[in-house]
């Protein structure tokens, strides 16, 4: 609050905007007089009724409210409620002829700044002074807290930026270490002796471990920055050439090098799941690495996938070990960031990020994670993975307005040169690109491009469910064919022309009984049947 200099050279006091709620004109005049005498330059508005108080309050800004405790139909507490509701921080001072101690305490409790007895009006200026000072302190604290929070956020951002930068910079030298180690191992720089081979294998194993740590670090910074991308795909966990089986193969040999037996149980009749295969493997890797670390030599680790009995919408994955187990108090804490077990004779402790990362990823995929364990009895980690469901993907287009005049068609776009191998990054990228291209070619209000559900030696098919009238099918097919035959797209899918076939969904039209929005499951079943036996090579 600034001060201005008056004519006499003394600083004149800053104006004080006061709203006085008082139905007794004499008391109002008394309060005004006290304020004028006290050195304030009061700009006084007086309200005698609740209505006029509310009107004045809404019209202008005030520094302080002075309110008589008992009006004919109102109390100061009602005025306080009006002030509160407006969201403004303006102190209220209660003015009263007779206030029992208890009501005084109650006023303060409710949020009044102070109270002044009418027979001691001289206290009013002091009360106002203190109220304004308190308000100033409140605002200062709020500002300081905001600044602190801002700088905390800024620090977090800088830390994540730094970690991300470091991780990227670490990748390049790692790439060279990996490159030259494999050059030596493959004998490209001359023959090597068996002992040298052993040494190089160790270098390679460690460089891979370091790469995985860098990857974890990067993932953590993305989780922290809310930038983690999850790309769910139609995934068949038991696919022998899929990510999950491949990851288990690698983990098996890692376990074997510590003389641990890793067994896996992946039934082939599990329903397909809707997860990011890479992220799922990251969860699995972290849990198995953790098991390897805490299981003594000669022990065993069992990875098992099965239907989740408690909720058929999920598959339950578990990693069980015969290790040292986890104490009750640690069972929750182990999922915290940077948690390290105090004991542990392991020479390497790792980053303390593995289980935290596993939990973050499991949650990001729509599942959850927990552990069951007793000290000395081994541990079993569980995490859930959502089962793939077609119906929710169809909901946006299977609507009354879409199907009033049009009918449902299933287009099958087959790419003979693409097998959709989950482990081949070029194929996966081509697949993503094709999906994007198709999505841009259809109308999102009426058509939906379904996720690729695996391929075979004959090629990979992407299905499009389209709501069109019979005359509209061929033009849509032509549009897709033309775009997919461009040299740029053909280059990315190995040069062979895609084929497009289409068929009407053999589904009874609406007869006014059941609305389309309730027939999505039925449509999904038809799509699945038309798409043939659900292919089982995804993931």
């Amino acid at each position: 609050m600034g001060t201005t200099t008056g004519d006499n050279g003394n600083p004149s006091p800053p104006p004080l905007r006061v709203l006085l709620l008082e139905d007794n004109p004499r008391d109002a005049e008394l309060a005004a007089a006290v304020l004028r005498r006290s050195g304030f330059a009061p700009q006084l508005e007086t309200a005698a009724t609740p209505e006029s108080f509310q009107e004045q309050w809404g019209k202008s800004d005030f520094d302080v409210v002075v309110a008589d405790y008992n009006l004919a139909s109102w109390t100061a507490m009602d005025a306080l409620a009006v002030i509160r509701e407006s969201g403004k921080d303006v102190p209220l001072i209660v003015l009263t002829g007779a206030l029992g101690d208890e009501s005084a305490v109650e006023c303060i409790k409710q949020g009044a700044e102070d109270f002044v007895l009418k027979d001691r009006p001289a206290r009013l200026p002091m009360a106002i002074q203190r109220a304004l000072e308190n308000k100033r302190l409140r605002e200062e604290r709020k500002r300081a807290e905001a600044e602190l929070e801002h700088s905390r956020q800024e620090q977090l951002r800088l830390r994540d930026e730094f970690l991300s930068h470091v991780s990227h910079e670490l990748r390049s030298p790692l790439a060279s270490i990996h490159q030259f180690t494999t050059i030596l191992l493959d004998g490209l720089a001359g023959e090597i002796k068996p002992e040298q081979r052993d040494c190089l294998e160790i270098v390679l194993r460690n460089s891979r471990q370091l790469s995985a740590m860098v990857e974890d670090l990067l993932t953590i910074t993305r989780v922290g920055a809310g930038k983690l991308t999850i790309e769910p795909q139609y995934t068949v966990a038991s696919n022998p050439s899929g990510n999950i089986v491949e990851t288990l193969r690698v983990l098996k040999s890692r376990a074997a090098s510590k003389n641990l037996d890793l067994r896996s149980d992946l039934p082939s009749d599990l329903p397909p799941i809707w997860v990011d295969p890479q992220r799922t493997c990251q969860i699995l890797t972290n849990l198995v690495e953790n098991a390897i670390k805490f299981t003594p030599e000669g022990g065993s680790i069992t990875v098992r996938f099965r239907r989740f009995d408690e909720d058929p919408n999920f598959v339950l994955a578990s990693v069980a070990d015969t290790g040292c187990g986890i104490s009750r108090e640690n069972r929750q804490a182990i999922f915290e960031r940077l948690f390290q077990v105090a004991s542990g004779d392991e020479s390497r402790k790792g980053l303390g990020l593995g289980l935290y990362l596993a939990r973050s990823l499991a949650i990001c995929q729509g599942g959850r994670i927990w552990v069951e364990s007793e000290l000395g009895q081994g541990s079993t980690f569980f995490f859930t993975l959502p089962v793939f469901q077609l119906a929710p993907l169809l909901t946006p287009v299977v609507t009354e307005s879409n199907l009033e005049k049009r009918s449902l068609w299933l287009l099958t776009v087959t790419f003979p040169g693409v097998r959709g191998s989950p482990l081949d990054p070029t194929e996966q990228q081509a697949l993503r690109r094709l999906h994007e291209v198709l999505k841009h070619l259809v109308r999102p209000e009426t058509d939906v491009v379904l996720p690729a559900m695996g391929g075979s030696d004959k090629g990979l098919s992407i299905y499009v469910l389209a709501c069109v009238d019979p005359d509209g099918v061929q033009p849509l097919v032509n549009r897709l064919r033309e775009r997919l035959s461009s040299p740029e797209i053909l280059g990315q899918i190995g040069g062979s022309q895609p084929t497009i076939s289409f068929a009407a969904l053999d589904i009874a039209p609406e007869r006014g009984a059941v609305p389309w929005t309730e027939r999505v499951e039925e449509v999904a079943a038809h799509v699945e049947r038309l798409a043939g036996n659900p292919p089982t090579t995804g993931g």
Partner: protein
């Protein structure tokens, strides 16, 4: 048939050399460039059958090289595979849209790289 020529563009000399050794042993002829400007001129002179392209490069980044190649008639159809330490989530889609065949992240396993190269060159895997 003469050996197919692969141009490796990477400012990390160690990586360039290592990858060169690896590809030569697989029967390819290898030429290299360590910056964006040289990359285009070497490409024009050598007419490689395939380009392996890093993204972070002095003298115009990899994306600029890629765009320039796709605009030059003699290089327009030359397949390009991006091999970079950068985050695929942020860069692979952009690389593919700019005309790259694939985005491989460093460190890349030799088998994965060779499969991608053979596919790009239309060789049987």
């Amino acid at each position: 048939m003469d050996a197919r020529t692969i141009l490796i563009v990477d400012d990390d000399k160690d990586f360039l050399r290592g990858l060169g050794m690896r590809l030569k042993s697989d029967g390819y002829r290898v030429v290299g460039a360590a910056d964006g400007v040289t990359a285009t001129s070497v490409a024009l002179k050598e007419k490689p059958d395939l380009v392996l392209l890093d993204l972070g490069l002095p003298g115009g980044g990899g994306f600029m090289v890629l765009e320039r190649m796709k605009a030059l008639l003699p290089l327009m159809t030359t397949p390009v595979i991006v091999v970079s330490a950068r985050d695929p989530a942020a860069n692979s889609e952009r690389a593919l849209q700019a005309g790259a065949l694939a985005f491989l992240q460093k460190p890349v396993e030799n088998e994965v790289l060779l499969t991608a190269i053979r596919k790009a060159l239309g060789e049987s895997p």
